[in-house]
């Protein structure tokens, strides 16, 4: 069996992992295993390896469908860079290379939507959006009841809330 990375030396390190019921296998030679950090417990993850080996293909197909090579304007990162390193160049790259990303993430993670911790600035926006929605519902109800005094107050509050949301 041949090493999947260098395609030269015989593979001596065999790794198997099951992600979302898909069995994924990687066969490496000693040298490539070392280079990929398979021996380093803190650095290695099989998904990393798989990513470098083929999963990026999906992204590439999606992003090159338009013909021209996609480049991140913010940091100059290209699709070829991603294929080589399995890493992205900056946070903006996630917008630039978004097209194939979901397919890639599906095979890698539990889901494609973040369900964890949210930064305070984002949490503020979420709270403000929730407040705005509440106010708008109350306004509708007030108008339906022909309570125009309350409706006027609510309109002012909605105006304020929208302003706050824009500045956030």
């Amino acid at each position: 069996m041949q090493c999947q990375v260098c395609k030269k030396s015989p593979a001596t390190v065999h790794l198997t992992q099951i992600i979302e019921n898909q069995v994924k296998k990687v066969d490496l030679c000693e040298a490539c295993a070392k280079e990929k950090g398979v021996n380093d417990p803190t650095g290695f993850s099989l998904a990393d390896l798989l990513l470098g080996l083929g999963a990026s293909q999906k992204m590439e197909e999606a992003n090159t469908a338009t013909g021209a090579e996609v480049v991140c304007k913010h940091c100059g990162f290209t699709q070829a860079d991603f294929k080589k390193s399995g890493r992205l160049g900056c946070s903006e790259c996630y917008h630039v290379f978004a097209d194939g990303l979901d397919a890639l993430l599906k095979g890698m993670h539990k889901g494609t939507h973040h369900r964890g911790k949210v930064p305070p600035s984002v949490r503020k926006v979420v709270n403000q959006e929730a407040r705005l929605a509440k106010l708008e519902a109350a306004l509708k109800a007030a108008i339906a009841k022909e309570d125009f005094e309350t409706a006027a107050t609510l309109r002012d509050e909605i105006k304020q809330a929208k302003k706050a949301l824009q500045s956030a």
Binding site: H14, N39, R115, G116
Partner: protein
């Protein structure tokens, strides 16, 4: 300040104890974070890395969670030996040790937090605890992360969560892991079944030391692989549940070895003691495997005067950089094996051999 003067001595460090520490050596939670707008370290030019380091080093080291007086330095202030020592203490990754100018390290005095600046991501923040304390480690790190987010803004995407250099860390950026000592499952030849079962749950198991899939010293690390689509506490909880089961399997494997193969067990532990206490040259690999058996002997109360902390200390002191600290001249492999044996003989000199009669006796 020199990092080696800052570090807790191996002897003191190994005296720390925690829940289930017969089997779980330590718990670790790591969060990956990146500054908004700045290129990730792997793609950044040196000047850009220095710029993010200049923002992060003071922001992190000033956090109240790290008080008083954390160690905070750029990595170019550390020698190759310093960095190797930190790797052997499991405080930084080998990747981080290979970095220099433009990367940095923040470590608190208790060594319960260790933050790598400009490793693969701008920040790799870790909370460390002895024994099985994943939840405590997560809560502590969550607090530190929240405090830091009042000072700096991290790259965040409403769908993908916290953005990381590698898509494998996306979302929560969390890696929860525990270091396990599983000699019972290895001796009972059940370890592969356990590894496969844990793998099926989407968790990774690997040997902490050794090449490829080999696990020297019967020490394994279990960690989550997926970071997106689940909350941090769900990930922590899932790993915790799995670990409690692994602990139970290890305990049962030890009991069944005592019951079914007491001679084999005593033979292993007695030989381990004999070689470690009397060898004049010993490789790192052999040392780790024998120390594992010695630690098992301590857990089974076979030694009257051998504290577990000493065995754990010997694990550390047997590592290459820790051995090198003892002598000024650069050691080659042969000299290292001989120095290692000298150190082990010296430290085990007053330790009495295992008492076979104690096997199976109820632990106090």
């Amino acid at each position: 300040m020199n990092v080696q003067d800052f570090l807790i001595s191996p002897g003191e460090a190994c005296k720390r104890s925690g829940p289930h520490d017969k089997i779980v050596l330590s718990s670790r939670v790591r969060l990956a974070r990146n500054l908004k707008g700045a290129p990730f370290p792997g793609h950044a030019k040196k000047a850009e890395r220095v710029k993010s380091l200049d923002v992060l080093l003071p922001a992190v080291s000033g956090l109240p969670q790290l008080a008083p007086k954390p160690f905070a330095e750029p990595l170019d202030k550390l020698s190759a030996q310093d960095k190797q020592i930190l790797v052997e203490r499991h405080l930084i990754s080998r990747e981080h040790a290979a970095k220099g100018a433009g990367s940095g390290l923040v470590l608190n005095a208790e060594e319960s937090f260790c933050i790598m600046v400009n490793e693969e991501d701008h920040l790799r923040m870790q909370a460390l605890r002895p024994g099985l304390q994943l939840k405590q480690a997560w809560l502590a790190l969550d607090g530190l992360d929240s405090a830091l987010q009042e000072r700096v803004e991290f790259a965040f995407h409403t769908q993908y969560g916290y953005l990381t250099a590698c898509p494998t860390n996306l979302g929560t950026g969390i890696r929860v892991s525990a270091m396990l000592h599983l000699p019972g499952l290895v001796l009972a030849e059940q370890i592969n079944q356990i590894i496969q079962a844990v793998n099926k749950l989407g968790l990774a198991v690997r040997g902490l030391y050794g090449e490829g899939t080999e696990a020297l010293g019967n020490i394994f690390q279990v960690s989550n692989q997926q970071t997106l689509g689940e909350s941090e506490s769900e990930i922590v909880e899932r790993l915790n549940k799995v670990l409690l089961q692994v602990i139970e399997h290890e305990e049962n494997a030890r009991l069944s070895q005592i019951e079914k193969k007491p001679k084999v067990l005593l033979n292993h532990i007695g030989r381990a003691y004999g070689i470690l206490a009397h060898a004049h040259s010993i490789s790192s690999k052999e040392t780790m495997n024998l120390l594992s058996l010695l630690r098992l002997g301590v857990d089974l109360n076979l030694f009257a005067d051998l504290p577990k902390a000493l065995v754990d200390e010997l694990f550390l002191l047997s590592q290459p950089a820790h051995l090198q600290l003892r002598v000024p001249d650069k050691l080659d492999a042969e000299q290292r094996d001989s120095l290692r044996a000298d150190m082990l003989r010296e430290r085990l000199r007053s330790v009495q051999p295992p008492d076979a009669g104690k096997l199976g006796a109820k632990a106090e």
